[in-house]
């Protein structure tokens, strides 16, 4: 017994080390992807409050360029105001006197914390559950695509940026309408890669890439970027396309969270097929 106590005393710091290290690794395992545990939500809430205070100072420096982008966006929206609506009824008479039903709603939000230098990057926004944000909503900015919400607390939400190895939105060439998958290979935050575009269709440098609307998150036609260069992968018969993102993720401040009213319906359809 005496020896045991001496042993424990002598090596107690090793046990302490194992305990702390084990706990840290446990947290990593719990939060590495969806970051959905209560700890993260709480931590987000606390960090979010402090971050929103500090970022409110830095926001002043970018006010001019942000305002300019917002004005441009307003002008663009005014020009195509029916774009976020789908035709709902083909009959000329109906119970409700509208032929359009709203599919997308936009919640405006401000970026209060962001990373762009890591392999997997996240943004934190100042809107949360209380403002109607839920998981897997798309996030866009006035100049293009931003990411998908992966975790929500009461007042804040965490967005998986397109600068993430698990982010694979479906995109298309606005000229040829051929679609592919957007991935990010790390490193330069202004450069993305598109795979799965068949090399039988000619591409042009400078072609505009937009979202295809095939994934239920992003509405169709959100700007992604422009083609910078491409080469054919002879083995697979697909292009490897390098694009320049239209959004400067380092300067990102104001974004919109996209709410898709038909998402459940669309999900149900695919689910039905999988169940069969």
């Amino acid at each position: 017994m005496h020896n045991l106590i001496r042993f424990l005393k002598r090596y107690s710091y090793i046990f302490l080390f194992l305990f702390l290290e084990g706990y840290a690794i446990y947290i990593i395992a719990q939060n590495s992807y969806f970051q959905s545990s209560a700890i993260t939500s709480f931590a987000n809430e606390v960090a979010g409050r402090i971050n929103s205070k500090t970022y409110s100072i830095f926001h002043y420096f970018n006010l001019a360029s942000s305002n300019e982008a917002l004005v441009k966006e307003n002008a663009r929206l005014k020009a195509q105001i029916a774009n976020s609506y789908v035709k709902y009824q083909h009959k000329t008479f109906q119970y409700q006197d509208t032929i359009y039903k709203q599919q997308f709603e936009y919640i405006d939000a401000k970026v209060i914390q962001k990373t762009i230098t890591k392999r997997n990057n996240y943004f934190m926004l100042n809107k949360g559950k209380m403002h109607g944000v839920t998981n897997s909503m798309a996030v866009i900015s006035p100049t293009g695509i931003v990411g998908v919400v992966v975790n929500v607390s009461n007042n804040f939400s965490l967005v998986m940026s397109v600068l993430h190895q698990d982010s694979r939105p479906n995109v298309k060439n606005s000229r040829t309408k051929i679609s592919g998958t957007l991935i990010w290979e790390g490193g330069n935050y202004s450069k993305g890669t598109i795979i799965d575009i068949p090399s039988s269709i000619p591409l042009k440098i400078g072609d505009t890439i937009i979202t295809s609307g095939f994934s239920q998150d992003f509405p169709e036609g959100i700007l992604v970027g422009t083609i910078k260069q491409y080469d054919k992968d002879k083995g697979t018969g697909f292009y490897n396309v390098d694009i320049k993102f239209s959004v400067d993720y380092n300067k990102l401040e104001y974004v919109y969270i996209v709410k898709n009213f038909f998402k459940e319906e669309q999900k149900q359809l695919t689910k039905d097929i999988k169940n069969e």
Binding site: Y13, A24, I25, I28, A47, T115, I116, K118, N250
Partner: protein, 174 residues
């Protein structure tokens, strides 16, 4: 609260704040992510108890984690650094120094001993951090370049700060 505890507390706040509000926003070509919060652990006095070293490592790592939005990564790696630090301290200091409270710094150790001491621990720290963050070998060269670049940036910043703020012999001047 005695003077030493107070100094340690101020170091903690200042270094954590500098890391969180300044360095976490630094972006140079995607390769340089300096992480100087490790300096807090490296500069603790030589007679700091081992258990306190571990607890402080964990708390510092966890603080950085909360603000970086990735729970666990910094805490896990920094706790390991806190665990292996005594081995390096024993190597770089004489047995007599270990009894007294010396702060590892240029003025105490001289640049010739201080540089390898921080360089080795910073490299181990960065190597583990980036490896855990990526968690795959598929982008090995990109990761390795990030580790090298970030380590060099961190070491240079630590040397600069040490030179600027810890000049007096045995005393820290903030």
């Amino acid at each position: 609260m005695n003077r030493k505890t107070l100094i340690g507390f101020i170091h903690f706040i200042l270094i954590a704040a500098f890391q969180i509000f300044i360095l976490n926003g630094v972006e140079i070509f995607g390769y340089f992510n300096p992480m100087i919060y490790i300096w807090f652990i490296l500069m603790l006095p030589t007679n700091t108890p081992k258990w306190l070293l571990l607890v402080l490592s964990f708390v510092m790592g966890f603080t950085i984690d909360i603000f970086a939005g990735q729970l666990g990564f910094h805490a896990a790696v920094l706790t390991l650094i806190g665990f292996i630090r005594p081995i390096f301290i024993k190597f770089f200091f004489s047995a007599k120094d270990l009894e007294t409270s010396l702060r590892p710094s240029i003025s105490e150790m001289g640049l010739n001993a201080f540089l390898p001491y921080i360089a080795i621990l910073v490299f181990i720290h960065h190597f583990l951090y980036f490896t855990i963050e990526i968690f795959s070998l598929s982008e090995f060269f990109y990761t390795f370049l990030r580790i090298i670049c970030s380590s060099i940036a961190t070491i240079l910043i630590i040397l600069l700060f040490d030179y600027l703020f810890i000049r007096q012999k045995g005393k820290s001047t903030y």
